[in-house]
Symmetry: C2
Subunit: 273 residues, 2 copies
């Protein structure tokens, strides 16, 4: 079977269009798609070039290409809509009914989602990223009073990427602290972070999966052995339960899911930055 | 003027729905929106609860709430569509024309975009994040042979968040190296990274903005003085031009824009992970 072209045309980064496109295309697993991103299509000239590219794919492949577009500017949108691809208008489709419902015209301003941002939000986002890096893996505990949440869990449960995602995507200040075997032996919240008890959020994981992840990194010693992983995970979960620390099982979850689950369960503000 | 409610209903993380919703709402600047996220709406019961919440907002505010939904399951979508809000169906609207065009039925599988992922992709994504952290700010230069790109620039141009974003969102291995005043004095690519010349990508910035950013962190010494910033930026840009290192001005760009611009200009693979 031939691959089917799917073009993602956007006037900015194309991240939203690509995510939406992938979500839709993933609903059609029998078909193989060849995705081509055309971000920053923000002038008439670039739009015309995009049309040439789409139309040449019509010749190359037997099937008509799909075109997913998030384009604010009417002129550019119209140019793209006249290509020989099948046009999916992910903005225009909703702008008109919104104008009607809200009783005002849309501003037709490009890029307010991933575009130029107000300096204050930008600064606080960068500060959140720097905070996550500075406090990664249990260092600079003295700064935890500035954290909105402190993720705890045994080694290799995904604490670091989840913290970074929360800081980058939502501007939330997150620290993370590893529960070491020595910590777990005590059966108590580690002394060093006792003060921040109310900010703790646990990550757990299936011991089998954990052993697999650890083996990919360091096969040496007991660290990656299944028995060790079973011990650590069961002690960590027992601690979470005893201390009423909310926790989530990271085994089959993506970083996005872990991040949004934490926001949801911890009742944090959820503003994209 | 009263705030208008905008509900974001999703069966998974709601990140896509929220981004799309914010992009659309940002087109109507005169109106103040109060956004409520209802992620993980993946059962009939949760859908019914969501409807109760939407309908109670109708009573609370004079205006009808807006409802943006990315819901795969038909039953759940139908329940939400029967609320008293104005329903914007960001999946269903496109699924039917796609089914028609592709000649196959959709799989109606929830969450293939930010959902459970194949372990191989997941592992390489985490590896990219760990790589970005390990090589942040000019350390572990010996590992740069594994990098797809090495971001260079003077202090506080956004190298770190851009590297992390590229690793988290696209699974790309990115290192970053700071151009120090001592490096810039030589007028040459720093010795330590000469070997990786072809992987270098520059970030520049307006000196005024740079001085402002630096002042917010360390007001001490010459580091944040405008003259110093002007010197560093002009030397860095001269170096980029002389050595034909591609570069981009970070002044008015978001992290997403910097990341996608680098992918675009450096011709990197752009797969969401």
């Amino acid at each position: 079977m031939k691959e089917r072209y799917a073009f993602i045309v956007s006037d900015r980064t194309g991240i939203t269009a690509q995510t939406m496109g992938q979500m839709l295309l993933s609903q059609f697993p029998p078909i193989k798609f060849k995705t081509v991103s055309l971000p920053f299509t923000d002038t008439v000239e670039k739009a015309q070039q995009a049309v040439v590219q789409i139309d040449s794919a019509v010749g190359e492949s037997a099937a008509t290409p799909l075109v997913f577009a998030t384009l604010i500017d009417d002129t550019i949108r119209q140019i793209i809509s006249r290509s020989n691809g099948v046009f999916f208008d992910m903005i225009g489709q909703f702008i008109e009914p919104l104008e009607k419902e809200l009783g005002v015209e849309s501003s037709h301003t490009i890029g307010s989602s991933h575009g130029v941002i107000d300096p204050e939000k930008y600064t606080s986002r960068i500060a959140a990223v720097n905070f996550a890096i500075r406090t990664d893996d249990g260092v600079h505990i003295g700064s935890y009073d500035q954290a909105s949440v402190v993720i705890v869990g045994v080694s290799r449960t995904g604490k670091t990427p989840t913290s970074l995602y929360l800081s980058l995507q939502f501007g939330i200040r997150v620290a993370n602290y590893p529960l070491t075997p020595a910590d777990l032996d005590t059966g108590r919240v580690p002394r060093a972070i006792e003060k921040y008890r109310d900010k703790l959020f646990g990550l757990s994981i299936d011991p089998q999966r954990l052993a697999q992840i650890r083996q990919e990194r360091f096969a040496e010693g007991s660290y990656a052995q299944l028995r060790q992983c079973q011990y650590e995970v069961s002690r960590a979960e027992a601690l979470f339960r005893k201390e009423k620390i909310p926790f989530v099982d990271a085994t089959a979850k993506s970083i996005e899911e872990l991040a949004t689950t934490i926001i949801h369960m911890a009742g944090l503000r959820r503003d994209l930055v």
